[in-house]
Symmetry: C3
């Protein structure tokens, strides 16, 4: 595809405001700025430190921010470019055009195991070795990869994709356009046990898991069902690999949880919350809308909306930076205090 | 089921000491106190902050603690109630009566792959797509969900349940009434490598994993086998999702490990130990009976029995609370010491 | 096998420098020093605290370090022994002789699902329920256990082993002699989303995952593919269970990552790096050759080669030890400073 043609197909949401077409290169792929080779497209964001690679960039064409100095620098290297308000977004759209994902063929493999009471919408794709339990309902266009297991009475909304070996336990409800990663488990039994004289006694977990539209979950994650009621993930929330969402958690819309996050039972997470890698959220904690927690944060108390937090125990990010700077100086501080004490001791003796 | 009938079926271990039956409601389900609707049962524990929802509770019947004031408050709302020594335990029993789990039908699906040398007890249930290796022995009543893989020579005790896509490696031994969550792996090769001039050299992992009776493991967890001997999990121990138990670990009876706990090779954990989410235990560390570790604790040294510990490095919970309180005050402390130093400097100059 | 015969078969890289053959016992297995029983081999390393069990050791034969005092102590107990430069390495070799792993039988199970366009080398073993996608190429001797799923266009080098229910996404490239643990996922979509007014917008992940020769990955781990280019794991690197390697990460040769490590997108890890359990590495961070990070370290800034680091924020291990020692003394330090302040206050008042 020619660069000029690709630019014409980019979303009207972000029309290119300027462009320079050198020889209007034919594009055969895409790459990172320092890796892109002949015939490849790349991009640069405002303020990105990749800019240091620009003078050796081998790409055929670049999506740039609205920055005339950068544009001239690129032009001098004879690289075609276009300037966008959001070059990363444009690159995402370009990738879909240049490297389209393969589309699963509709159809039901004869080696899939489908209970006769399951109801399948038009155009569903079910691969060999998948198991669909009694009473399941899959809407049109759902894709089920090999080895996926749906227990009974699972519902999956239109155009959702279930990757290989994912397991969805009974009565889970998935909305439209959800993506469930390989080996992820939804709707499994919450970890609820009551201490008794005879040992741990299971609290039956009779609730279910609900994923609203557009939720995506990575690989090897787990979302448990509660004793009663629902564990609910709000529309458009994205969850990475190896994440634990315990029973009865409520997650709002448009959140993003990075890998190895753990959210304990009954926590309530607002809308637009971002949790970085290895963050933990305690039982029944409330995290307000728009909170951002940096990696490894341990949220053991409620966090007000809009805060950026860090550390364990959790604190405002700036306070954490100050505490951590002070922490490394702690041995020195100790010595200073001992010096002061000796000094005053001598004063007293005198 | 009528509330009165349900109360008659609760365990004699905790008979209701008082009750008030309004109109003896017919119960059709159960819910959390603030969510329960018409015809639903709920419960309240002593000291639980859910009590604030009591005045708007819509449940038809409640299991309460032995607290006359609460009972009168509920009665005024015309909600039937019964008072129990342990209302949560009563609710667990009630859930089993009101929302019974479906029981797997005995039988072997023709699409299961079973080695002819495997021995299967009466009433086992083996689903489509499961693989049972050579020499495996499944006792009566074992349930094997779709996609489960048993390598050779695995033994599974009576009435154990293996959820979908779980993998049990060779020579693992599971006791009676164990529950293994979806996508969990037992008996995999321990992470044992020896540094040599030619790179990492594998230490063969020839041991096995043993789960005693009543052990439950959540989803996407892993319990490795050791080079020699056993990795052993004591009877009645419950393990949550995404937990790592390394090779050669010994875990006692009646422990509870929350999600994302990691226990490194050769650690020895006593009986009744509770590890909260994201706790780590170092190689060969010994953790005494009854120890409780709060979330994210890093246990890198032995812990005496009965302690409640926190932090990393691990310390008594109260010491950790004090240290953390002091940590947030550290920048202020730094400034105070600098003030003192300047002050004494001036004194000296004068 | 007789002990003398076993010694003859140990690698010439580490010939035993001395030995004492009592009655040249017949060996039927192996065990840890404090557990080994009659007819079993065990070993002891220099400086290992297992030495305290030596006086009660029941093993039939021991591999010892070059330490005459130890050798005499063992001889007094009438246990046969041999002294090696690296007794652990010798034990590893001995285990392979005494407890050989079963070898997968070559052949393709009729219940495997193999796309007709896949190309299979000689001697491959593909179990029931495995799925091999279009265009996959498996070299000679590859072993595919039950339930493994290969998406399209995956290549697997000779003698690699894919354990049960592992999932390899499209275009992943595995070298020779790789081992992929059960339920591990390779080549899944990286967690790349762009914030827009309409919510998170997916960055297409069109790259692939490359594992060089001899890479081993444990169970329930995930290695994601990037938007463009590769996620690459260097030759001989060993990765434990429940590890997350995000999109675009580069890992060098001969590294070892323990369980529950998480490496965020675009990080660059050198050769021979050791990350202990639950370590996290931030986006785009660079970790130099030979770095060792202790458990739970949070590497949020670049680390120079050869350092031993700890803590979060990351610092040199010795600085961390000092800071942590000071941390537990912090409440006391606080009190000392308050005493000093009061003291100077009184001085001023006087």
């Amino acid at each position: 595809m020619r660069f000029s043609e690709l630019l014409r197909q980019l979303s009207s949401a972000d029309p290119c405001c300027a462009r320079w077409l050198a020889a209007d290169p034919e594009l055969g792929g895409a790459g990172a700025l320092h890796r892109a080779g002949q015939g490849q497209l790349s991009f640069l964001e405002p303020g990105n430190r990749m800019v240091r690679h620009l003078d050796r960039c081998q790409a055929a064409a670049l999506l740039l921010p609205r920055n005339p100095a950068l544009q001239q620098q690129v032009q001098r290297r004879n690289i075609a470019w276009a300037a966008l308000a959001d070059p990363r977004l444009g690159f995402a759209e370009a990738l879909e055009l240049l490297c389209p994902e393969p589309i699963a063929q509709p159809g039901i493999d004869p080696a899939a195991h489908i209970h006769p009471s399951a109801r399948l919408g038009g155009g569903v794709s079910i691969a060999a070795g998948a198991s669909i339990g009694a009473g399941c309902r899959l809407a049109e266009g759902v894709v089920v990869h090999p080895g996926v297991v749906l227990y009974d009475d699972v519902t999956v909304g239109a155009d959702s994709v279930l990757h290989a070996n994912a397991v969805i336990h009974r009565r889970s409800q998935l909305g439209r356009c959800c993506v469930i990663g390989s080996n992820t488990v939804l709707g499994s039994e919450g970890f609820g046990f009551i201490p008794t004289a005879g040992g741990w006694r299971k609290m039956p977990q009779t609730g279910c898991v609900v994923l609203e539209d557009g939720v995506e979950v990575g690989c090897n994650s787990a979302i448990d069902r509660p004793a009663v009621g629902e564990t609910r993930i709000g529309a458009g929330t994205k969850i990475d690999n190896l994440v634990q969402i315990a029973h009865g958690v409520e997650v709002g819309r448009g959140c993003a949880f990075a890998a190895q996050v753990g959210v304990a039972g009954g926590a309530v997470i607002g809308n637009g919350v971002i949790l970085a890698g290895q963050v933990g959220v305690n039982n029944r904690t409330r995290v307000g809308d728009g909170v951002i927690a940096s990696s490894k944060t341990g949220i053991q108390t409620d966090v007000e909306p809009g805060q950026m937090v860090s550390g364990f125990p959790v604190m405002p990010h700036k306070a954490w930076l100050r505490s951590m700077a002070a922490l490394t100086g702690l041995p020195r501080l100790n010595r200073a205090v001992r010096r002061l004490e000796r000094r005053l001791e001598q004063d007293t003796v005198r």
